[in-house]
Amino acid sequence: MVGVSDFPFLSILTGAPLVGALVVAFLPRAKPELAKRVALIWSIAVAVLAAVMWVAYDAGGERFQFRESYTWIPAWDARFTFAVDGIALVMLLLIAVLVPLVILASWHDADSSKRSVPVYFALLLALESTMIGVFAAADVFLFYVFFEVMLVPMYFLIGSYGGQRRQYAAVKFFLYSLVGGLFMLAAVIGLWALGGKTFSWQELLSADFSTNTERWLFLGFFVAFAIKAPFFPFHTWLPDAGGAAPAGSAALLVGVLDKVGTFGILRYCLPLFPEASRWFAPYALAIALIGIIYAALLAVGQNDLKRLVSYTSIAHFGFIGIGIFAFTTQAGTGAVLYMVNHGLATGLLFLVVGMFVARRGSALVSDFGGAGKLVPLLAGVLFFAGLASLALPGTAPFVSEFLVLIGTFTVNKTVAVIATAGIILAAAYVLWMVQRTTQGTLNPALSTVDGMRRDMTIREKVVVAPLILLLLLLGFYPKPVTDVINPAVQATMQDVGKTDPAPAVQEASR
């Protein structure tokens, strides 16, 4: 019998948005509404398919499910191999949820630009296709292909449809990522040549390298992922890109695209190079810690809302980095959960900021002030998104941050304690930002702006509602997600060769 798990979910999930992108790109330029609707419906269909896959996934089953494999380049043993573990699955879900919302939120983003509206939505769908591909690939070569190609649609989204300094930001984004990608290319070639001339992840898992080789290969992959994530000190492209990108694209950039970095570390660096991972772990923890504190301090000082949100993300990626390199199941699960929750929370924050910016025509904090009096509902959503972002108990990010911290505390108290300071700084930058934009006396200039007289439209409410709902739901009941993540993280930690410290229980005397 052909079970539901034999259905080629992953190749369809990867291919469908690409087909949609081609369709949308060739829709007549004169009918932008048609292009928007087609793109929205298409992305919702993809989301439905992803939901079906979620249901069909067996959380307690094999590590990799929905495996598909097709011949591609036999000479190099590179194949179209797709398979997901729990970590990849939740990321696919996150993409599938975010993209329709982003499309809806970006409804009028491209109208004001002189460029083609259908192309904007086609680029969003093309980006979705490559993002799904990068998480679904189980072949190192295929992963690399998606990893690099992903840059192209994002480059044009920033460069063609972004705000001020978009050219500079787009080029900086592309060059940073490309440099990282080429480091990885060298490592991929090395992995292939020294690991038995295959790209199959499963087979490479058992490849043996000399200590030195393994460290160099690890470094090649890690630099690429650290730039992508981004970790301090490779982060300087993100505030520019996040600040210049249209709000919807920025939500995808920070919410999903950057997760490829942390996902790549979990999927490629740790299992393939376990010895090197353990050797480099203290350094990785150090740059993650610096990232938390440094980016939080910079966020406090930002006057540009989008750049501010970008800096908060860098701080959050520090937490994810700590969770990964603590090498405990708890911290690892927390890190993966953090990847999901951060996508939701920061995605929401970016979208809401985008709504403010669209009304005011400026992203500067100093151009707002007392906005809550004009648009109370929108200000309320900003406040909620901010609270979620600073990991208030009851919202989803709290769970993940807490897991990361206690998971780290069991093995490395110092790191956990320093990281906790980041929470305080998070409260500072979020609350201060909310206060300066929406609270206090009304900025007189603000009331003369027409846009600020309209509170949230129905479309905008539809955009934020699912995200708020998910953030609350996962804040109170994260079990469905952690159940899926946990086995995959455990398997990864086994690959690294680390076991959780045994709980310190005293033998009861009889």
Partner: protein, 510 residues
Amino acid sequence: MQDLQLPPIDYGAIAPMLILFGVACLGVFFEAVLPRAARRSTQLVVALLGLVAAFVVVVIQSDTRILTAGGAVAIDGPTLFLQGAIILLGLMALLLVGDRSLEQGGAFVAQAAITVGSDADRRQATRSQGATEIYPLAVFAIAGMMLFVAANDLLTMFVALEVFSLPLYLLCALARRRRLLSQEAALKYFLLGAYASAFFLFGVALVYGFAGGVQFGTIHDAVRESTQSTILLYGGIALIAIGLLFKAAAAPFHVWTPDVYQGAPTPITGLMAACTKVAAFGALLRVLYVAFDGAAWDYTPVLGAIAVLTMLVGAVLAVTQTDIKRLLAYSSIANAGYLLVGVLALSKEGLASTMFYLVAYGFTVIAAFAVVTLVRDADGEATHLSRWAGLGRRSPLFAGLFTFILLAFAGIPLTSGFIAKFAVFGAALDSGEAWLVIFGVITSMLLAFPYLRVVVMMWLSEPGESTPTVSIPGGLTAAALMIGVVATLVLGVAPAPLLDLTTNAAEFVR
């Protein structure tokens, strides 16, 4: 008197070359007897038919592995593969050469000797049909290149070198626009080319002194067994390599490249960038792999240093270019470096990957020059980069195609450029040449910048007053462009058939 024994000749095996030399002679004959009005179409059709016929014979002969003509010519896997490549790429270049829709009379001037700007020159510009001798000249060059990659002794190789070089010197001087620049380029190319030929010939003499013969088999045996002074051998290798590396445009023998690429009529630049590169590297491969393989330990470090220098010079100087043809020239120099990396793998994989790279690069570079012929204003081609600003707005189709071509040059996945780079780097790393791969990756990062700058110019800048229009290509140019772009895409997405073909062909006969 002793009877001269004529060596047996396998006419079937050398038929492709015979056909093309015959067609070229026929072209000269037509030039003498046909009325002016009928010449151009006859010449073009005969030349194209001759190339197609030669290609068919190459395909029929594809299993031949023999030495013929007294061991002067080797028809083996690499020969046939490279001959096929030269014919196909030559065919594309000839399509560009034959196009007259872009400019009245085509890109070539009938009488280059008439003083620029004189009355006679103006009369010529309005009336004359343009040169038709270019077709037999181009066919002579292509046939010479085919003999060059088949030559199995150093004297045949020298004759072939001259046969294909002399027509190219002439063709370079025949540009209709910017004629002085064109003639200067031709003179430069001729003088430096003559020096390079002299070096080559001197090298042949030294090697003859060492080995007592010029056939590659004899040299191979002598390298292993001869008791002659090795100074003769090393001097010979060095001088022969200088002659070949000059044609391949490797640093420090590259200085002619930017000037000649810029000055020559653009279709001829395409012919040189694609076909000359194939021929030069084909000959280099045969000389190093068949004749001097016994001395590999001695020449690898030197050629490795040349490869690194070539990559660096090409990449670094490409960054500063402001003219698209010069930019492509430096890019072609850098690519010569990548090709040398493949050559220096000195293995079957190295041979196969270098041949793949030659074909992949050839298709892409001719397509690139096809686009250059299209971007024009009243003074002919607008090659200054600043003039390309905003081209994406004026004609999205051609800007899109050119962007794809540039991404292929930059080695982004899903283009042939990526697969080709991967192949040569993989082969080199497999042979333990990790340092070459590292330099290759670093220069790829540098080289991405100039390509990206052009993309930014085209898409993200506003069109200015002086942005030229893109001419609608005639059928011939459009065909060449489409063949190049489609080949770049197909070789990037499904490279397996060509990779298999190169692997099967990758064995020299000695």
